[in-house]
Every structure is written in C-alpha cells, then in structure tokens.
C-alpha cells in the first residue's frame, strides 16, 4: 500500500517533518517570549530588592546621621535623642516654623529610617516634635 502511494507517502512524510519543525519552533518561541518577560521582571525585582535593601537596611550610618540633628538645631532644643539597637526616639521642643520645616523636610529625607510614628504639636509660636523610627 505504502509502495503503491510512494509519492504521496514521501510528501506526507515531508509534511509531517514540517509540522514537527513548526511545533518545535513555536514551542521554543513561546517559551522564549514568556522567558524574556519573566527574566525582565525577575532582573527588575532583583535590582529593586538590592536597592531597597541598601536604602532601608544600611544600618551602620544611621546613628551617625541621627546625631547630625545637632547641626540643624541648638542642643537646648534636643530634649531626647535615644538610639537603642536599631531603633531611635527623638524629642525636640521649642522649634520655630523654619526649624520645623527643615527637620520634617531636609533632615528626615536624608536619613534612611523607617518612621513608625511622628507627632507634632504647636504651643503658641513654638512646636514640639516627637519621632520614633527604626532601620
């Protein structure tokens, strides 16, 4: 039978080979497409994790940076600067408007700490600021 339709058999065989090659190509094309997307996502995640870890867990320089508050304010206004392990508590009193803006803006932006709580209360022209943070 196969010999009787040898020409057709040959074409059929070539066609089957073509289909197999097409399936093979499509399988790896899809895998590559998915793989590339996943790789881009994974690489971005790795970079992000590394950046975030560096940003929020660079513990060694935080205490030093917290002590930098002394360059922003006279010592009399720093009522508490307590640093324990990887936590800190800061209490400032008698701040004027400019000093408050500098502390909440520039100072806090420069220290990579996780703010857990911040309280500001005005008493006449002066402000009281309480900050709890960790890293």
């Amino acid at each position: 039978m196969l010999r009787r339709y040898q020409n057709e058999s040959m074409i059929l065989l070539a066609l089957l080979l073509l289909i197999a090659a097409l399936l093979y190509k499509n399988y790896y094309a899809t895998r590559l497409q998915r793989g590339s997307l996943k790789a881009t996502e994974t690489i971005a995640k790795i970079e992000d994790v590394a950046t975030m870890k560096k940003l929020w867990e660079k513990s060694s320089s935080v205490p030093q940076k917290l002590h930098g508050i002394k360059t922003y304010l006279p010592a009399i206004k720093i009522k508490t600067l307590q640093i324990e392990k990887k936590k800190a508590q800061l209490l400032l009193e008698g701040l004027n408007g400019n000093e408050l803006n500098r502390i909440t803006g520039k100072f806090i932006a420069s220290i990579p700490v996780q703010i857990t709580e911040m309280l500001i209360r005005r008493d006449g022209p002066y402000y009281r600021l309480e900050l709890r943070c960790k890293w």
Binding site: A14, A39, T42
Partner: protein, 279 residues
C-alpha cells in the same frame, strides 16, 4: 531477473570514468539496436569498458502484470547479463528454454539446443549489487518529479523552522544565564529560588512604599502651612495620618481645595482644617 528478450545490450570501451557519463552516451550507441519504444538506459562498469543496457520499462511492467506480478510488490529488477559470471551451468527458465552464458553473454536458448542433462535454478547468489526500480506511483496523483520538488520545498521549510527553533532554544539558555549573572552580582541576597526572591521583594516593597507614602503625606501637609496657616497638631504612623491646621476664614476654602488636590482627606473645615486618612 530479466531474460535477454527484455533488454538490448552492447559492450563498449567508452573513454569515460563515471556511470552517468556512460548512461548519457548509451542512447546514441544503442540507437541502431533499439526499435520503437520508450527506452531507459543502464551502464555497468567492467574491466575492459562498459556494458550499456537499454530496456523498455513499460513493456517489462506490462509483462509482469500479465503474469499477475504487480510492480508495487517488486523492489528491484535485474538483468541476467549482470550476473553472467554465475551462469556456469544452464538455468532453466521454463519447460522449453534455458539461460546460458556464451562468450560472456547470457542468452536464452531452447533446451533442445542446450542439451544439458541437468538444469540449475536462480539462487540469491545470482543477485547483482544494483538493479533497476519499477516506475513508482502509477497510481499516484502526482509524478516523481513533482514529488521531489514538493518534498524538497517542505524539507527546506522544515529545516528553516528547525534552525529558528534551535536559535530560540539557545536564546532561552542565554536569558537564564543573564538572570544568573544578575543574581551573582548580589551574592548577599542569597536568591536561591524565585520563592525567596518574591518573598524578599514583597517585604522590601511593603516597607519602601509605606515609607514613601509617609514622607509624601508629610510633604503635602507641610505645603499647606504658610504665614497665615499653621499646624496645630500632626500625627502620622504606619497606618494613618491626622492633622489640624489653623488658618483665618479668608484662606480656609483655598486650603481645603489645595488639600483635596493633593488627595488629602478633609474631615472638617469650619474653624480649622482637619485632615485624617489612611496611608
């Protein structure tokens, strides 16, 4: 194995080295011997030249079919001349005729002329190395030439797809290598699996986005302060923010609009601006 009545042959010392060259010359050499018919040619190399054979395949096939032998069940056909060295004794063809080799030529003679007492029969030892194949695909819808062209085209396409697939396969490996090389850049992260990476990412992202939101809210509330408006209280923690900003009646509507534009939730804005919302 075909007896001599199905083919015409001639020995020629042709000055050619290859079989295809001898086959090309065969029609002109055998022209005088062949009559009307559609002949095909075979050339067999011998020590002293070439044996050129002309045969009419249609004639052979119709003879085989007359005898009930379908060409579809015949793999190879050989010429008796090809096995001349094995004809050391007469081979019986039918009741009357026998094949014998006379002067290196296999001929069919009547048994009455051969006069042998015993006749042999064809065995596998007679089978030459090469034979001819009956024309294929008489029942096919397409001829052999078309088959070869179509098959070649399909094969070429298949090879193309195969190469493309292989390229994709290699590209996948390089993508994986790229991920590995990025992982190696950060050995301290210890990213042994996707699960570890995802967990690490989620925990770090949660911290990062929360701290960014806290700082953004702080900045937005700071923008509401001026000479005319001051923070009375501000409380911000990891869950919510709460602030009271005092100002005069002239500025309160303006502040309220600005606070809303900054996506701050305004609770009350009668005597002072009260803000409270989740982070």
């Amino acid at each position: 194995m075909l007896t001599p009545q199905f083919y015409i042959f001639k020995k020629e010392p042709l000055p050619v080295s290859y079989q295809y060259q001898a086959v090309r010359l065969a029609p002109s050499i055998l022209d005088e011997l062949t009559g009307a018919g559609s002949y095909s040619y075979v050339a067999i190399k011998e020590d002293e030249g070439w044996i050129l054979i002309a045969y009419d395949m249609e004639k052979i096939e119709s003879f085989l079919e007359e005898r009930g032998l379908s060409k579809n069940f015949i793999n190879k056909i050989y010429f008796a001349q090809q096995a001349k060295e094995h004809f050391t004794y007469p081979i019986s063809v039918d009741e009357k005729n026998a094949l014998v080799a006379v002067d290196d030529t296999v001929v069919m003679l009547p048994k009455s002329i051969v006069g042998a007492e015993e006749y042999g029969s064809l065995t596998h030892a007679f089978r030459p190395e090469k034979g001819i194949t009956p024309t294929q695909g008489r029942h096919s819808w397409i001829n052999q030439k078309q088959t070869i062209i179509v098959s070649l085209l399909l094969l070429l396409l298949a090879i193309g797809y195969g190469i493309e697939g292989l390229r994709y396969q290699n590209a996948i490996a390089s993508v994986e290598q790229k991920i590995d090389s990025v992982k190696q850049r950060y050995p301290k992260l210890k990213l042994n699996s996707t699960y570890v990476l995802n967990n690490l990412y989620e925990s770090k992202y949660a911290i990062d986005s929360l701290q960014r939101r806290i700082r953004e809210r702080l900045k937005e509330i700071s923008r509401l302060t001026s000479k005319a408006s001051k923070i009375d209280t501000l409380k911000i923690n990891t869950k919510q923010y709460e602030a009271t900003i005092s100002t005069d009646r002239q500025h309160i509507a303006e502040l309220k609009t600005y606070a809303k534009s900054q996506r701050l939730r305004v609770l009350d804005s009668n005597s002072s601006l009260q803000l409270k919302g989740a982070l």
